[in-house]
Symmetry: C2
Subunit: 407 residues, 2 copies
Amino acid sequence: MKRLYCITKAATRLPLQVEDAGRSDAEIDQLKLPRVDQNTRLDNRVIDLRTAANQAIFRVQSQVCELFREYLLGKDFVEIHSPKMIASASEGGADVFRLKYFNRHAYLAQSPQLYKQMALMADMGRVFEIGPVFRSEKSHTHRHMTEFTGLDMEMTFKDHYHEVLEVLESLFLHIFRGINERCPRELEAVRAQYPFADLKFGDTALRMRYPEAVALLREHGPAIGAERLAALEAQREAATRAGEDEKARDLENQVHDAREHLKTVPTHADDEDISTKDEKLLGAVVNRVKGTDFYVIDKFPKALRPFYTMADPDDPMWSNSYDIFIRGEEVTSGAQRIHDKEMLLSNAKELGVDLGPIMDYVNSFEFGAFPHAGGGIGMERVVMLFLSLDNIRKSSMFPRDPSRLTP
Amino acid sequence: MKRLYCITKAATRLPLQVEDAGRSDAEIDQLKLPRVDQNTRLDNRVIDLRTAANQAIFRVQSQVCELFREYLLGKDFVEIHSPKMIASASEGGADVFRLKYFNRHAYLAQSPQLYKQMALMADMGRVFEIGPVFRSEKSHTHRHMTEFTGLDMEMTFKDHYHEVLEVLESLFLHIFRGINERCPRELEAVRAQYPFADLKFGDTALRMRYPEAVALLREHGPAIGAERLAALEAQREAATRAGEDEKARDLENQVHDAREHLKTVPTHADDEDISTKDEKLLGAVVNRVKGTDFYVIDKFPKALRPFYTMADPDDPMWSNSYDIFIRGEEVTSGAQRIHDKEMLLSNAKELGVDLGPIMDYVNSFEFGAFPHAGGGIGMERVVMLFLSLDNIRKSSMFPRDPSRLTP
């Protein structure tokens, strides 16, 4: 005999239907069904998360963390847990959350940067941390949150900081291959709702020096940018024809911005900052010209990096620092750090940085210090960009931004 | 030809010597050397961490996290990352840190409790999280910090919450065996400075119901407590004879407290709260009588647990909740949670809990809910108690307490 028990009853009216939340754009357009907007989804995240695509996204996310750790543990890294409540706004005071700490104030760590370096100076050799990172930025973009998960690593090296960059590059390749191997069902579930092109990557990472990347942008940016502009214009016209006024206006703004941006590309100087728009266009250029969606820009201009970044010993205009990109968006920033107290002091003085509040960090380099480098990876960005999702909120279970603190 | 390069120079005067920081108490007493006190160590943590014992402690810590994850990933758990900045003081407003969040306030999560339950209601089935946990408690004890690392797990079950308790128990045994197998050198390095008795544990966990644990305390507590009291008195007399006045005074206070506590043991009621002193004495009793340092107390009195704890369906005076102990100190608290919205509402009403600020959580149970249970493990406590360290600050790399926010 079989029995059925009622464990709990569901409410008879749900704020949204899982079925509606799980439809692809193509299906919605074809069947002319209403679209569940992002705020409705996030306000009712417990239902929204039940879609096949969301179940898959968070299984991929879990695997990204596991792949990160397994690679580094295999390379003799030690996992650490550094404090998130700190005494001073460590890296620039503007974007930091302040809290009441008994009879004084504390701040939320914007990264484990200073602590992972101190762990190395305490003889740990190679360390990593997975933990929340807090940024009090009033950014309402598709790729910023006020809280995200940092995958951080830092290690000492023998001769050259490229030893560390190589570990980072291999780590990413390990993550990419691992997702493809271990999550085939999850990738299909995501693709069914959010179609995407497989990430293109080779057996090694493409690494370019900063001026090389800028040269590539100057050379191929105008033509490829023009193609992208034409595609945007076509979309806008289609929206206008379909009477979708709001969408058409939004696309018109994008067309305008892209056109203005394209004017600046041919004259981009070698050591000039690469904007978010430059990055995105460069991603399209690299995809087309070099056949990869994964690349590294090495040797950033010194002026663009924080005070603790090591200058290039051959030319102090440049620095031993790098960013890592997936599909034209930055997922990692890293560098060789200054391990010499005097150099750190003179550098901070030159840049007008007050080291007073972080003297414990500065002093950690005077007990016999090791040359070292590392980087911090935005975990949700890796998930978003691997799956080519259009918004970072899709790869954060309960996202936080300036206007969202619930659920 | 060999060459030597100077990478960096160390300062000629160090605030403490690694050699001094690395000595055992026995060696210090024998050689009559000065003792490096805890604050000096923590103020200069980068040097203090260089001792062989500290290097070992943090390698054991890294392994504890890895063993936790590997066990749960092997049981189909998914790793999640829940927000640490939340809109309301979720579990009692007193011990929560408040921060400024743009034009409003936010709070630091005291645990991922509500979020891991919501993840289950979103069909995740089995989830775990490793992340910081914040408690604004003015506790200056050997086992409290304002920030620690929570090892949290939560899962749905089929028939009985003991399915979950069994996973937790096996998880701990996996961690204990794993440390012994993988960290023999680390254990020796810790032992050389901080001698300790190996943790006693069997092939299965010892599980007692709350009244059974209290009965054990009543039966054997007085005799074993008297032995411990006599040992303390002997230590005090030795200190007095050696002219160590401060130590003698401290021990005299401990003798007094232990004597007062012992008076209460024979009349401890079955459903009365077990105090920290009771717990410690019970740990000694269980070690002697049952031959284990690892045990579980199941079925706590309902009155001692939070509003979301499921009552025992056979007798609502008790609850489906448990604590896990190592050497007489609690390392995990857990329970079956209420998955029925109406029951949650009526329970909160009875206990005077305002659910207004956490209605997203309450509502997550009305879309078809699953019976579920879980627990939260204090990671630094597990490391401290496995190694029998005398202070939680020894198992936290950069500890935080009401008076310490640096380095």
